[in-house]
Symmetry: C2
Subunit: 314 residues, 2 copies
């Protein structure tokens, strides 16, 4: 059995790298900038140099290294083919083959949201689960589906895109989602969605007295105000949780997961969020799947590195 593995999470600004034991202990992590010039052609050579330099620095035996797991911001098929990553300037090519050729190491690649889900299953909020849905509440809503301990990739590498579950009729939503549709989950149940819900609530309820009128509306200011007992903020939070809880009940009718793990920046709101989502989930969910748990993600922005290693070692 090999001893070490590298977990790499490629973002639009930085590449996070970690040296792990194959048991999943993070020994050291560091970052390098993501150089997007020239169609992103330097990114994999930079990753390769960083990994090989670390092997050298630590005086590791290459024979002790299982390989590199890597998460990427775009759809990735099971064989390591990325179908394109607009944030990196990449078109379609096989990342596993390319990075393997550069490093002489075995490589497994996956979508960043999906490997983050795998990381949370392995060492984070979903530890011990093998059927899990990760919900990442950031600017948008991302997700990752794990069935029998494995990432569900989908036909086009697009599985887990739960932010684009239709939750409203297009004619009821004047604004357009980033994807071009109207009425997607992430138009309501994300950081930007919370702000939209709040703006509409305040517009429709001009007579209501709330501390939100004195603040810049952000997901944080809204959930903080709710935690402090502000009535308007509580109503907005309730709406947010209701929309998300109902969408997750739809996912659960299909998949019957053991647990939902809630991560992303918005998840810093903590239990006011998981309790609220869980309450509406149970209201909308089929009785046989009503017992699914709700937990907060616990690995933060290291989830991707952990999951990339887990993807590699299987």
């Amino acid at each position: 059995m090999k001893k070490y593995a590298f977990g790499v999470d490629v973002g639009g600004t930085t590449v996070k790298l970690g040296l792990f034991t194959v048991q999943g202990e993070l020994l050291e992590d560091w970052e390098i900038p993501t150089v997007k010039a020239d169609g992103g052609r330097m990114i994999l050579p930079d990753v390769s140099r960083a990994v090989l330099a670390k092997i050298s620095e630590k005086d590791l035996d290459k024979g002790d290294i299982e390989g590199i797991g890597i998460g990427l911001p775009g759809p990735v098929l099971e064989d390591g083919t990325v179908l394109g990553a607009a944030n990196l300037g990449w078109g379609e090519f096989n990342v596993s083959d390319a990075l393997s050729e550069l490093t002489g190491l075995k490589v497994r690649a996956g979508n960043d949201a999906n490997v983050a889900a795998l990381g949370e299953m392995w060492k984070g909020g979903g530890k011990g689960c093998s059927d899990m849905v990760m919900v990442t509440l950031g600017t948008g809503v991302g997700g990752g589906i794990i069935i029998n301990g494995r990432i569900v990739t989908g036909r086009n590498g697009a599985a887990g895109e739960i932010g684009h579950i239709p939750v409203a009729e297009p004619e009821d939503e004047p604004e357009e989602c980033g994807c071009g549709k109207h009425g997607c989950l992430e138009q309501y149940a994300s950081a930007t969605g919370a702000v939209r819900l709040a703006g509409r609530f305040l517009e429709e309820n001009k007579e209501i007295n709330t501390i939100l009128r004195d603040k810049e509306l952000t997901a944080k200011s809204i959930f903080d105000a709710a935690a402090a007992g502000d009535g308007a903020a509580l109503a907005i939070t309730d709406r947010f949780c209701r929309i998300l809880g109902k969408a997750l009940a739809a996912v659960a009718a299909a998949l019957d997961p053991e647990m939902f793990v809630i991560g992303g920046g918005v998840s810093k709101a903590g239990e006011i969020l998981t309790d609220g989502i869980g309450k509406y989930y149970r209201e909308y969910a089929f009785h046989a799947v009503r017992g699914a748990g709700f937990a907060l993600a616990s690995l933060g922005n290291r989830a991707g590195m952990y999951g990339a290693v887990k993807l590699l070692i299987g």
Copy 2:
């Protein structure tokens, strides 16, 4: 390699049995009654006797038989534990172990809707797919999810229960679903759902002239009238397809399947149904998953037997 396998599909009235080659050729099929007396305790002994009698009748070598795959009307875990089957009078026990003990053959058990999905993937409308969602439109709406060629079972054996996706707000649906909730998909997009949609449409549009007023309202009479160009029936069919297409777009955001296979009695309506569902699916679906195909199931009530064999041989 063994030569033969038995596929068994246990229903509330009859048990369907098939003798197959391991390549999936159906050599012979027959039925026995489902004896539900005495808590259904005679069902597995009856299946065992039927299988052993067929082996004897055909003068087969037991060593040439791979085993028995069996589909059951209730939630079944991966290890063959049925969590109860109200239609059969069964509580919780391990069906695989029990039937294996009776027959001396290897047994694999699954939920009937899930094995039917597997059958359609193997030899039916989803042939050649490995990521597929089966949608069974009967009295209710059943389903089965196949990922990487394997049934998704779920934590409670309840994966694929897409009939209970919440599609309406509980306060907007006065009638109760069989599951106790209000607003489930199967309250609209099933045989009974079509009749409910039609009843409401005719009530709300008393001035509209339609041949449906002279007929007994059934899913068949509604879809037949739509195929004949009746305006009211077309409007009802459109509503049916819209609700179902939107729900399947939610499933696809999570799973990114290659194909949806539409089966069950209502699917006899044919292309008017798959075309309509597909149209609304594409309207509601995230762009990356919009290309999923729609096909009609082709194995009819033999899908369960085929899928049970596939479950057995893996």
